[in-house]
Amino acid sequence: MAVASLPTVDDALALGLTREEYELVCEKQGGPPNQVELAMYSLLWSEHCAYKHSKKLLRTLPTEGPAVVMGPGENAGAVDVGGGLACAFKVESHNHPSAVEPFQGAATGVGGILRDIFAIGARPIAVLDSLRFGEPEGEGGTRTRYLLDGAVSGIGHYGNSIGVPTVGGEVYFEGPYEHNCLVNAMALGLAERDALVRSAAAGTGNVLVLFGASTGRDGIGGASVLASAELDADDTGAGGDSAKRPTVQVGDPFEEKKLLECSLELLDRGLLVSLQDLGAAGLTSSAAEMASKGEVGIEIDVERVPLREADMEPFEVMVSESQERMLCVVEPDRLQAVLALCEKWEVEGAAIGTVTDTGRVHVTAGGELVGSMPVRALVDDCPLYDLQPQKPAQPVYPAPAATASLPAEATIEQTLLALLGSPNIASRRPLFEQYDAIVQSRTVRRPEQADAAVLALPADAAGVQRALAVSIDCNGRRVAADPYRGAIESVLECAANLACAGAEPLGTTNNLNFGNPEKPHIAWQLSEAVRGLGEACRALQAPIVGGNVSLYNEGATGPIYPTPVIGMVGLLPDARRAGRLGFARAGDEVALVGPFAPSLAASELAKLRGQALPDGLAEIYVAAVREAQAAVREAVREGAMSSAHDIAEGGLAVALAECCLAGGLGAEIALDAGTAAALGAADDAETVLFGEGPGGFLVSGEAGSLERLGERVALRRLGTVGGDSLAIEAAGEGAILASLEDLARAHGKLAELFG
């Protein structure tokens, strides 16, 4: 390395390492690390790469099951979907970049998760997104609308241009996300089960090929502090303006589209030993992880990396997060074929290094060694920390402001309309209309047609098409009220969505979005939520095959709501019998199914009224909920239900309105005293109408079909489908009579905000 003073412990602290971690690095290195080495350690030992505050918790999660083909640790997890096929899927966050620049932040979030999918050899078939912002109205509303608009455009821009449908998602608006929005993106891919690729490097003497976009200084986020300090000290003149450089990467979906097709064709022709995408920490993390998994060494010559900027320092090349790049291991005699295929797809490919037997990562610049680190030290030796969880004595979150759209003495009809128009419940049409939901011709259920997105699989020999159903969900407010039960509810909600489509869970992915885990109350939220998540996934036999952790999500006003976003994938035997949420036939009977025990605590209505979060949610009887889901699923699969919809935000009344709107049909409903008593809410019509809790489904169908369903699970008939208005007679509280037009107007509120 060029003559330069070694970085000091202060540089290490500025890069986020602790004093003890720096000393450990010195011990592993046999002396102080140089600039390249410190940059690489600081990234690989960051929370983002090493999961040092979450790994011990993550180890408690269930990751094995009969359908699991690939579990956590690979670029994405995968489950067996039969017919020789596997479905790869994963969710990942791009929260902080999106808060800085929502369009590119969200776009590159989609780009990153898609690369994870095709890195294991699966063709991406769908994207879903999970978004959280502050309140869209009032103080801060302008910025919220800017962030939402940018994030939705960015997701659409990337997904639409690359030809992968965006089939579902969720958005919540809550005060605690105002200064720290969340942008999580999930992707699914399909591959021949036996053709899935792992990322372990192997074969001493094999060649490392970097292909895709060239490498620039964009996205040198974690190292920017070092960059300024070192470059000023070195006075190389190469980057005097480094502080001004954007730390958010800029995505190019066209480049990724070529990269995707090129990668899949390389794999299809059997030209690669292994493949890995470049994500956070760029070459550093990809190379080190490939070496670690293969228990080999790797040597990289930074001077052979195609650059888009001259005079980049070796450490900059190693940590750059330039988008749309992949790294593969190739046997020497196949190198020419690999490079020729890159040329066909107009993708730049370059041999940048080799697999060695040294067990070390060697970074060279030309002939000169500029960095040398043991692979094990880099990847495995980062210290893991125990959390110090403590339940907070005081409420962490202030009560939300009461909404003006709900009059103090509101009738139940006014309450229903206010709920339908509330930002968390209003129709997402203005958002999802910006996404191509149908490219690739697999989409059986489009947004707002069913509780889960449904994607057809190839027909089998008998001509039957099975299908995948997928859902993503998390109600952060309820997790904040009770991290353990709130997390269980999120898992149950996803499984309920699948059940309504007729699908049984195969596997789960999760993105744990939390605040600073070094604070005891956040540590408590995190450990309680992970405990709930593990229990629920075990109970549903929906193991976690991969995921992501995003910590330190805090703004000036405090932490975000704890948000363990759950993505779940399930299978249904016949795509033609996929469930729908909308009422379908006048004359059908409507029934409430399942162990539903509604409560207004932590409900959407409580929020609209400005009520503080309760300390804890009601106990959940997971086994009973699971039984109800199974009964609904079977009924949908038999084709016995005209519609099935799970009861979520806004309770039974909102669910009824949603069924009416999705089907373009009204209904006449009577909620008598017996129903109220059965729901544990005698003489409390408000709780019956608007209370929330897991385990409730609204189904419609012929009387005989409902009768048969009632033999399997608690079922109460509520009324009949028909007409062009929703009429609800609520014992003791009068009646609701709202035309479909009125309901649609209330439900269309988001368009006014984001038109």
């Binding site: 659409g156 639409n160 066209f254 070529k258 910006q434 191509d436 149908i438 490219v439 011709s441 795509a575």
Partner: protein
Amino acid sequence: MKFGVLQFPGSCDEVDALEAARRVGEAELIWHGERDLKGADAIVVPGGFSYGDYLRAGAIARFAPAMESVIEFAREGGPVLGICNGFQVLCEARLLPGALLPNRNLRFTFRQVALEVLSSGGTFTRACALDERLSIPAKHAWGRYYADEQTLAAMDDSGQIVLRYAPGENFNGSLHDIAGVCNEAGNVFGLMPHPEHAVDDLTGSSTDGLKIYDSIKMTIEA
């Protein structure tokens, strides 16, 4: 009969168009760098973002080697169908009159739209009745059809305005609600909605798009 479906870097709906064509005949992909149209009886220029839509949607694809052959094929009377990005490519290639501008709402928009058939019996609408309504999805950011009034009047006179958005369905702001047009000879047709995404009840919400493919087949085999 055989369809040839072009494939550019950045094409997205080429496999959908290929599979849709296979419902009525044979079909094969044609790589943008090749000049050989592989004996196709009809050409489909599919949707997507050819060359990333850089410069202007369709502006670069128009110069692809395969397009040179398609232009020659069209001049000789061969049927050419351009869908969405393919429509933009055909306008850029001057095989069709007019141009496609950014949507009025300036956003990419996906909707199932109702279309009215204004000109039936031609190469691409032989299987449709006059004034028949088709339900076909549209999804694009640059779909606002524009031509000067003189051109539009001439097109109207010669029956070149083939498809129109039904009342209330024109979300992109196309002049005269135009959704699809053909050239004067009637052998080149472009439309913004995606007929290849309306060929199967399971995924398509309708099978009306199949009528476009059926029409081409009837023309070839007539």
